[in-house]
Symmetry: D2
Subunit: 484 residues, 4 copies
């Protein structure tokens, strides 16, 4: 099958029978729900751009399985060039959507599973890798979107999976059958699942032998019986429900939402199981997925940052101060920080290396360094954007006031900035900055930058492990002429 | 009249005939409107605490005009001790409301007007100071709340008031009568006006002689004919309209809202005019008001910070990681930053000095340093709070899902943290952090920290002016043994 | 006796029979040694300024013991006003010497001992307080300088005093006699001891009962038998030995040096013992001394910062770029950071409170916050100074080259900045910046800012203890409507 | 000729007749001068490592001119792989010398000249590129070290070259002859010239037509008549003169020094002139050189940082606190910052592109971002190292005291850390940290990180130019739905 157009993708979603709840009610038409649709639009953009010749090089790749042209989001990276293009594709999508476009988790899970299943099979003679390649082939042939699901609710974070008061707080196998297993548990913070055809489940952390039942990885269709999705509240979510409102949204078209996904006794057939009890490989799978995903943030958030920098520059222009030296300096600082993130994304890709399975892994140290910076710089970029925008960004009256017969003329008159720019356009750009700083998109640009692909401390632990302090100590002893 | 109780204050507001618009519609009952009421509750708290013996020392003062006991928010500061108590009162209110309680602008305007009118009279033989003291007396006797209104819309910020394409973009006198003046223009970002009985208008910046008509200061009742208030949108504002919703608000009871206040040909009687064309005093008034108001942030935001630190500590506890060293270290850092702000608030108060009129002004350099830090540290405190809270803070399902028969049990089960704390309480604390980081209160805790009392660059200019670089150059020359 | 003049002070030092070693040799004439003399000059300045009417209010105080006029460095602080004047005096001295003037440790030790001895006596009926007051009286009458000595070498920091492989790594009582005790051990990093008449020894940390012998505090003359001082190397120390060199020093006149002070079986008479085995009071003494000393840094380092800011401003001027916006902005930032430190120094003083003994203690939380900022901001101020100065600050040829017949004209010609300033003056100011950034004074301005009065982690522990997290948690629960 | 061994290199230097002055005297034997020799050792290491098989891939390359194996420091980069290897080679050398190894300027000048001369010739039909290739060939054949000399003294930085009071403050052509030109002026901050056989001079900034005489680039032997070098003072420089001192140096073997190099009517033959009056190409040459050199810092300073991190880790170990969580966290932070610099160095290399001449240029935006980070992070790494080291790093007695019969035992006894490590080794590691923080190496690791390859503001201007703000504004308009 050829790559789907955006329209075909949208239609394919309509066929799914997802169990989605929001505000206590079941959503009948997920695709057209005004709160949810922008997140679909973001994913749809990954299909649309893949159709455009100018983006073909970034958006598509050649399948290592079939040799066919595929969407790069389904690609197994076979070179450092592939890894770099991945980052560039992510920056592009960030620029086009100014939000989370959700497909990275699937791509990153694909590549982590690809090499890990190979190594499990090498050790145990299992056939996970073969199964997984079949799954990839199936996904590629249908040009599907896959959600990678890792984060368990975790309950008391001071306790291991099997120590929890409720054993289901980490997803686990509750029954083994001849033809498969029954699983129970949940995955939190799932950004892309609503817009995915399949979900690829992974364990959430390294496991010890007593947590054998939790060392499970598999893929099932998103509308499999027993799967329920409950949408998370975002800041400003219900603005999208307001009638005739466009300006107030900041970013009307695109977004991203998160769901708590419950697996309530879901059956997984054997051919879709890729890890089952080989506890010592859970850590490898997590580390590799997290590594790829920490690389991802050096692309996607940079693209969103580009939009925010552009918006701040426009706000300065519309306020009449584009040439103030402190404004220019703040825009430079925003650019500097944003490009530092990009540099980290590129560097960990450039220094990638081949795994035993043949695909390429990023440099783990640099990928963790990348993500660690992502937990800091977007916050400072936002702060600078708020500085440039001015207080109006949070005190401007609503679009309804702006359109009102009674007071609209006041808003029009008094919220005008420079003469050459309409009040409406000025407000639009301020709302975009609000959206990214405080609104729905801030969830993705700020908090997800903090916790996505692992919270800051997780990266610090990896930096500590990968930093090779012993080698550095030797270097210092040589210079200091220390003999022992 | 004795100090009003909270209830009396609330009743007094009901008598006002304010012209308030929101979402394109006129609000009939301002006091009970669910979006606006929390902001009233915050001001009401300033009345309630003044009734409590344990807070009497901080919340009340002795009038320099009448010798009566008054609410400290109406006080003319007559000592550095008064200045310090002001900051402590503000911290207290921040702790009790976790939001902007709005009365500082009036208090700060009072004190700036008090000394400036005195000095104008000294120079010109005018009687502004006497008028102003009469106004204070009137306010004290009624225990009223006064909104201090300074910020004009400003239009093209590269142009002076009289250069604007629309001359009304700075509030100005459009007609002079024997008994008073007619003014036109607007004041933006007015946080307290909804809950105020009077509005005290000041010019927004230093003026040159050609801007004479803009050098106007006066007070009028908030329901004076010609005054229209248009409420600004805040992040998550409409959550307050959701029925049966409590948890999702984070801070159900308190808040603060901002309004664009239009003065459309408003008449001001002579006895309420405190500056009128003495352009060279506009700068003094602005500088002093800004100085007091920059001091204020060293109190109020610290109080809000206390709540956020407490919330983060609870979140860590509920997540099961209160003893992780990195968590403890982040709480220390939050405390350190918050107390640094407080130190600045206290220091500029302690180093205050008496003006010619007899009241006390803060140390201007330190007050600007205080505010400059406020434009930075709350952002970092928020970032650390988001780090500690975890991603659930922005992905947790709605209260309606939590209460739902169909999926509520899933939320209850899977979003449980430590066993000893209910899921509801865990979600409540996460929603409070969301409220302060991204929601309605973030408007006050972040963006207002940035722009309130002047944007960061305004403080830098003052720091430059007050820093006495010439003296420092002399010190350096002495040490370096430079003779010229 | 009246306050000593600078000359009298210098003469008084000549009478001391100090055992001082440097570069492996015993120093015969400490006062005139070119490496050591600048540190004497700094202390001398504390005597000279006390003689000048314009500084009398800051530099002198009235003895609580005798009612006589004394040097403030020997003062027992009896009010918050005293505490504030202390900080101002320290800033003044920092401005006049651009180095460590060394007397703060004595002053801070005085005040910590004063209140602690009182409380020990209250509990145990001992007479430490009386003895200590006698000691103060003796010091005041002679207008002496006292070194406060706290920091033990500590050996393996993972072990307690009595667990060390060598029990002397913390100073301890090795023999008890009827008339006194014999002590052995060392105190490290002693900045003022060379220029002090007496040394006041305190324990270095809280002690447990097994460390009883280490809970010892006393005072003895600095030339007591058994005391040996070994001078620490400073960056660029030997430049002071170069003949005919002035410019290269940056700060020819003033400095500060540190010594390792060994107590090799030193006898202490009973009347000079102020703590002896009351282990539970060691912590109080340390905490109070550290608190006062952390306050001190909000004065002295600010004064040094003033000089560095002035120097950077001159460097910009001499380079021809005083009006570049980025230069002005960096000077503002330096000022802002420096004044933030001052604000913390003032605030912890203003919020001081009376101890049982009657003297005033600073606010411990704010004093620790003060010092924590001191471990950061001077580094950033230095970085900005280096930025403004330009690379020449570290690559300029020596003064000997500048004075050389052969190449001096090249230096003169090519290192000229703006036409109106001599090359010599330009180089002088660059050398001053070098001195404070990398040279002898950097030891005081940077590393001492880091570790003096306790390393950063020590403050964080105190901030954690003093931050009252439980109260903040209650505040958050109230706002979040959490009932338990 | 084959690549020189370290010994051969050293011998080749002895043949040069350099005019070097230091402390007002002419240096007769430059190679063996104790202050200068460590800088020679650093360069020598670039020859020694090139002889070792394990480093061959990084240290050597294949000449694009002759096809011969050459030292990579003389390489013309013909691929992004070459650019990446350059950075890795620099990190390696930083690790091996913990100082500036000086050859990067020549390598970076080579590559900037290579492409710029090609483009000048394309426009003007000149033969600079041919000449320059001949020069490269000559250098390669002799395996020479070339100093790239760019920075003029600049005088009043507010004035252009031809506006200076003294026209020689920028190096210029003072006479044109048939066979060449006579130049006069100076180059400041020359790190490698002492240890170079040739000096390649470039203009220091973009030029306008009136500055034609200043648009000159050429190469001459370093001992050409008229060239005088005056060595700059470094912090702690004369420690290297102290007899029997080893420990106190921190890094006895390696270093780097800077010189002011005067060109007093130096003749340059035509075949060595590579730019002469084509003013519009001065900017290109500077921009490309600066770009390459800003990349370089993403390698060399990272290597030095590795040593400092190792030293701090050892200090923690020797102090007995390697497992304290705050220590571990600081080491992680140091690693994180250091690797962020490396990521920037790698990224700008990976994203390099081919010039018209065929060689590869780095990505200019990312190279400037790289250097901008280098102006910040080493300072923070140093601060953290000072934190971990403890105050002893600046207060420890001299080696002579340590070796002294009289007091050596005190130093030995009291400055012992953990039992298992000798006091000597503890002091050695503290001295290394001192060396990098405050001593001779701090000049390279701190101030050179600030100003080398252009001061911070220079990078900000480039970031502003390369940041493509217009594109970002378009992105924001698309998202905000702004139509104009």
């Amino acid at each position: 099958m050829a790559l789907m157009t955006g329209e075909q993708y949208e239609e394919s979603l309509r066929k799914l029978n997802l169990q989605v709840y929001m505000f206590g009610e079941k959503i009948k038409n997920v695709v057209d729900n005004p709160i949810l649709r922008p997140s679909m639009n973001s994913v749809k953009m990954t299909y649309e751009l893949a159709q455009q010749p100018e983006y073909e090089d970034l958006m598509t790749a050649t399948s290592v399985i079939t040799g066919n042209k595929i969407n790069r989001f389904n690609n197994i990276h076979m070179s450092t060039d592939d890894l770099i293009k991945k980052v560039k594709m992510q920056r592009l999508l960030g620029q086009k959507t100014a939000s989370c476009f959700q497909r990275c988790v699937g791509m990153d899970a694909f590549n982590a599973e690809y090499s890990t299943t190979y190594e499990i099979d090498e050790k145990y003679g299992t056939e996970y890798h073969k199964r997984f390649k079949n799954f990839i082939k199936f996904v590629e042939e249908n040009d599907y979107t896959v959600d990678g699901a890792m984060t368990d609710p975790k309950g008391d974070r001071g306790l291991s999976p099997s120590q929890q008061a409720d054993p289901d707080l980490y997803l686990r196998v509750v029954e083994k059958r001849e033809d498969g297993v029954i699983v129970r548990g949940a995955k939190a913070h799932q950004t892309g699942i609503l817009n995915s055809h399949e979900v690829l489940v992974m364990p959430t952390q390294a496991m010890r032998s007593e947590d054998k039942d939790y060392a499970i990885s598999f893929a099932v269709p998103t509308d499999t019986e027993g799967i329920t999705m409950i949408i998370g509240r975002q800041s400003c979510d219900t603005r999208k429900l307001e009638e005739n409102v466009d300006m107030d949204l900041g970013n009307k078209k695109f977004g991203g939402v998160e769901a708590l996904v419950v697996f309530d006794n879901v059956f997984v057939p054997n051919e879709r199981i890729f890890l089952n009890g080989e506890t010592e490989f859970a850590g490898m799978l997590v580390e590799r997925f997290a590594g790829y995903h920490r690389q991802s943030y050096g692309g996607c958030k940079v693209g969103v940052g580009d939009v925010l920098i552009g918006a701040a520059a426009l706000a300065a222009e519309y306020n009449g101060v584009p040439k103030a030296s402190h404004i220019k300096d703040k825009l430079i600082e925003m650019t500097h920080l944003n490009e530092t993130l990009y540099a980290c994304g590129i560097a960990c890709s450039s220094q990638g290396y081949q795994t035993e399975s043949g695909n390429y892994l990023i440099d783990l140290l640099l990928a963790n360094v990348c993500k660690q910076n992502v937990t800091r710089f977007p916050y400072e970029i936002v702060r600078l954007a708020e500085d440039i925008a001015g207080g109006l960004m949070v005190t401007a009256p609503s679009e309804k006031d702006f359109r009102s017969e009674e007071v609209g003329h006041y808003v029009e008159k008094y919220l005008r900035g420079v003469k050459s720019v309409s009040t409406e356009n000025r407000l639009r750009i301020l709302r975009l900055i609000e959206n990214l700083s405080l609104g729905t998109a801030a969830v993705g640009y700020r908090t997800e930058s903090m916790h996505g692909a692992g919270s800051p401390q997780a990266q610090r632990i990896m930096i500590s492990r990968q930093g090779n302090l012993e080698h550095k100590k030797e270097l210092a002893k040589n210079i200091a002429n220390i003999k022992e």
